[in-house]
Structure formats: C-alpha cells, structure tokens
C-alpha cells in the first residue's frame, strides 16, 4: 500500500478516462456550450444585483466577478473530476456492485473516487480563468505574486474541501436508499458559493463558514488575489480544510462499516 503504487493506479484510471473522452469528441462542443451557459447564469443575477447598487457589503462588481470566477473554476473541477466517479459510487450502492470494489486490494475510497473523469469539463476551468482576466483588466491592475501563490494554496484546500463534502454526501447514500437527489442537493448547496460570503449574515454566515465552508472555497481565494486576505486566514483555511477532510474520511470509514453488502 505505498504511495507510488497509488500514483500509478491514478495514472491508469486517468488514462482510461482520457481515452474514453477522446471517443466522444463532439462532447467537447456540448461541454463548452453548457459551460458557457452556466457561466452566464452565474453572471445574470450579478448584473441584476449590481444594477441596483454599485457595491454590496464592500464588494464591487469586478471584485464579485473574481468570486464567480473561482466558483466556475471549482465547478469545473467538481464536475470533471469529483462528481462523475462518485455518481458511479451511488450507482454501485443501488445495484449492490459495491462489493466488487470493496474486495479489491486497494483503498475503497481511492478506488471509487478515481473511477471516472470527464476531461472536457476543463472548459469550465478556462471560463473561470477568463473571468479573472476580465475582472483584473477592468480593475486596471494585476494581482501580486504572493497573492497568486496564496490563491493557489487556497485552490488546493478548496478542492480538498469540495471533495470531502462530496464524500460526506455520498456517505449519506448508505443510509438513504433513494439517492437520486443527492447530487442535486450538493450542487444547490455549492451554489451559494457564487456570492461573496460577506452578504450572508447571522446564522447563515456561521453555517457557511464553519459547517459548510463555502466562504473558504471562493471568497478567500478572491480576497487573496485582491491582496486583502490576512495570513492568519490562510493558515486557518489550511488547518480547517485538513480537519474537514479528516472528518469526512472518518464518516466514510463509519459508513463502509455500516454497509451490509447486497448478499448479507
């Protein structure tokens, strides 16, 4: 069970998905179009909101655009690398074929999380980057190097959190039998991340910072790019993400233990 073996395994899985994606080249166009459509939806309310006010809770239109950019980018990561394999996992539970995965001589969480990738969804990542460029051009300045570095660190923590949240949702699939809605539930929770977290007040702010750390995923990186993120927050984000991931791992192990296979 060494790291090298797992890396090789990941390479194999990635290659298989890549070859599969190349078979359906027309999908590239479809993915591109839907990604653009989604980016537009993310923007439409933004236009409407900032039509009413020049700035909301200290965020201007261009600055909020950065948050939307991070949202779009993470959506690409989520839909390209995280959801496809874990949707497969839900299917496994429903059909009872999870047993085959559990029997394999590798970590089950690793296996189910790497079973499928949708490389075309990388289009979303490109639209996200496009939004960054546009936002900074209209702001008339560029992010600082430490800012970019901090945002890259935060990108890693966001992906970790996103993945852990997804693991938590999938763990719920062991307990709720009819799970078709779970993906939908997840996307709609994640949806709140497209707004700067400053707009949420009271209990909602608390939930989105500590329970479901959405603020950490899109608002923090945007702040980092703007050079407004205190270093302590960055450290807090890293610690928080690792803690969150361990909780998710623990819940996953509990769920696996709870799982009685199709035959027993």
């Amino acid at each position: 069970m060494n790291a090298k073996r797992y890396l090789r395994l990941l390479g194999v899985q990635l290659k298989a998905s890549g070859l599969l994606a190349l078979q359906y080249r027309a999908d590239f166009l479809a993915e591109g179009l839907t990604s653009l459509a989604w980016t537009f939806t993310a923007l439409a309310p933004l236009f409407v909101v900032f039509n009413a006010r020049p700035s909301i809770e200290g965020w201007t239109f261009q600055e909020s655009l950065l948050v939307v950019g991070w949202f779009t980018l993470l959506q690409g990561v989520l839909e390209g690398a995280i959801s496809p394999s874990l949707t497969g996992m839900v299917e496994h539970i429903r059909k009872g074929t999870l047993d085959f995965v559990l029997l394999k001589p590798a970590d089950a969480q690793f296996l189910v999380s790497t079973q499928r990738f949708l490389p075309w969804r990388a289009v979303n990542v490109l639209s996200g980057v496009g939004l960054f460029v546009y936002a900074f051009v209209s702001l008339g300045r560029w992010p600082s190097l430490p800012g970019i570095f901090a945002s890259l660190v935060l990108l890693a923590t966001s992906m970790l959190i996103l993945y852990s949240m997804w693991i938590l949702v999938v763990s719920a699939a062991f307990f709720v039998v009819k799970v078709d809605n779970l993906t939908y539930l997840f996307t709609s929770i994640f949806d709140a991340a497209r707004w700067p977290s400053a707009v949420f007040r009271g209990s909602l702010a608390w939930v989105f910072t500590f329970i479901i750390p959405l603020a950490l995923m899109t608002t923090f990186p945007a702040l980092a790019l703007l050079g407004r993120l205190p270093w302590t927050w960055l450290v807090g984000a890293v610690v928080g993400a690792v803690a969150f991931a361990s909780v998710a791992r623990w819940v996953w192990l509990m769920s696996i233990r709870h799982y009685t296979s199709a035959s027993s």
């Binding site: 839907t34 309310p45 009819k178 078709d180 007040r201």
Partner: protein, 268 residues
C-alpha cells in the same frame, strides 16, 4: 385505456402515491434542502436592501417574495422529465405501457400525491413569512386574491408538468435529454423570477420574459401570492399563463404520442 378505467383507478393511484411519498420521506427532505435557493437569494437581496429599497422592494417585501417563491417551488415541482428519460433508458417504460392506465396519468398522480407532505413543509415557512413580512406582503388578503392565486398556481403546476413531459419525451428522440434538462434549468432559474423578481430585468429583456413560459411557472404565482398586481393586470397575466397551459398541453401530448410510436419500434 378508456377514461372510465382511468377514473376508477385514480383514487387507488393517489393512495399508492401518497404511501410512497411517506415511505420515501427522507428523499423529500433532501429535495426540500436542495431547493433552498430562494433563502440564499433572500440573504443576498437583504444585503442589497440594507442600503435602501430596490424599486418597490424593501427588506420586508424581499422576505415575502422569496419565502413565497420557496412555497411555490415546493408545490409546483415536477420530476417527470427525469423519470421519463430514466425509464426510457432502462426500458422499464415498456412495463408501464402494459398497464391499462396512461403512464402520464400515473406520473401526474405520483407528483400530486406528494403535495400533502409538501404542504406540511410549506405551512411553517408561510407562518414565518406572515410573522416577518406581515400578512399584507406574505399572502393574498381577500378571497378574490386567493382565487387568483389558486388559478395561478394550478396553471404553474400544469406548465411545469407539460414542459417536463416534453423534455422527458425528447429522450426518445435524442440519446439523452440530460443536457437539455440542464439548459432548461438554467433558463428557469434566470427567467422565472426564482432568483430575483422579473421586474428587475431591463425593459427590453422584460418583453422577452413576458413571452417565455418560465415567468408563469414561478414569478406569476409568487406575485399573486404577495399581492403585487391589481385585478386587471392579474387577469391579463393569468390569460397569458393559461394560453401557455393550453399550447404546451397540445404540443406535449402530440410529441408524447409520436414518441411512443418510436419507443414501440425500439423493442420491436
């Protein structure tokens, strides 16, 4: 598939549907949690309204509007498109077709049978709305107003149902209508008044919105619930809504019939 058999089976189907809804109540809770977007939008617009009202919307108006949107979404939601495309893919639609009752009627009763449970979710939210926004901004205040709202919500339910049938049936033509459903959801979210009241659109876009069905699925019932329109304007909008109901009814049934002919060709 005579009308009489269908009518005779109807009470039983509703009863089964209700029992199923109760059996899968966890799934319903998940669904309710997944449709909390109006609450997010409420938080957002409240932040906007802190700096002063937007149009006719202050803090209380936004509360009334978005809580009403939450309630309307619960009562008019339909997952028939998803069910249909799933059953086409799995081939289980064939089994449904063997029964002497139209599958569409079965889907419709399944959706309707869940409504009592949904009302149980809606009532507390309505209570909060009454308390936080005041009766004037939360519910119709006259019997006539309630009548208009009832018409509006039935129309909204029917439009959503027919659109779902249409989208689901298209999976008989396309390999998968999954992508199409995504596009539908995008349009619904932006154009229906779900994320912000349609009157916030600039004048040109509003004309387009008035011609699209989405506004009548969400915005109109919400506006009728919160008493945004005078009677004359309300009747005009209801007229447009029911024109959509009629049009979509005819089109979706026609496409469904033709689609079924194709489906029969699948299995030989």
């Amino acid at each position: 598939m005579s009308l009489r058999t269908s009518l005779k089976a109807l009470p039983t189907m509703v009863r089964i549907g209700f029992s199923e809804a109760v059996a899968y109540r966890a799934e319903m809770i998940i669904w309710v949690l997944a449709t909390t977007m109006p609450l997010i939008m409420l938080a957002l617009w409240s932040a906007v309204a802190r700096g002063g009202p937007v149009g006719r919307f202050g803090q209380a108006e936004f509360t009334g509007y978005f809580l009403a949107a939450f309630c309307v979404r619960q009562l008019t939601s339909s997952w028939v498109a998803w069910l249909l495309s799933y059953e086409v893919k799995q081939g289980t639609l064939a089994m449904r077709l063997l029964r002497p009752v139209s599958p569409l009627l079965a889907y419709a009763t399944e959706v309707l049978a869940g409504i009592p449970l949904r009302i149980a979710v809606v009532l507390p939210v309505l209570g909060i709305s009454l308390w936080a926004a005041g009766a004037q901004r939360a519910v119709p205040t006259s019997p006539g107003g309630w009548g208009l709202f009832a018409l509006g919500i039935v129309g909204a339910w029917l439009i959503t149902f027919y659109l779902n049938v249409l989208l689901g049936t298209l999976s008989l033509y396309l390999e998968s209508s999954q992508k199409l459903m995504e596009v539908y959801m995008v349009l619904f979210f932006v154009c229906s008044g779900y994320m912000f009241p349609v009157e916030f659109f600039p004048a040109g876009a509003r004309t387009v919105i008035e011609w699209l069905p989405f506004r009548y699925q969400m915005g109109l019932p919400v506006e009728l619930m919160t008493g945004a329109h005078a009677a004359k304007e309300a009747w005009r909008l209801l007229g447009a809504q029911w024109a959509w109901v009629a049009g979509l009814g005819v089109v979706s049934m026609a496409v469904w019939r033709r689609g079924l002919a194709r489906f029969a060709a699948f299995g030989g």
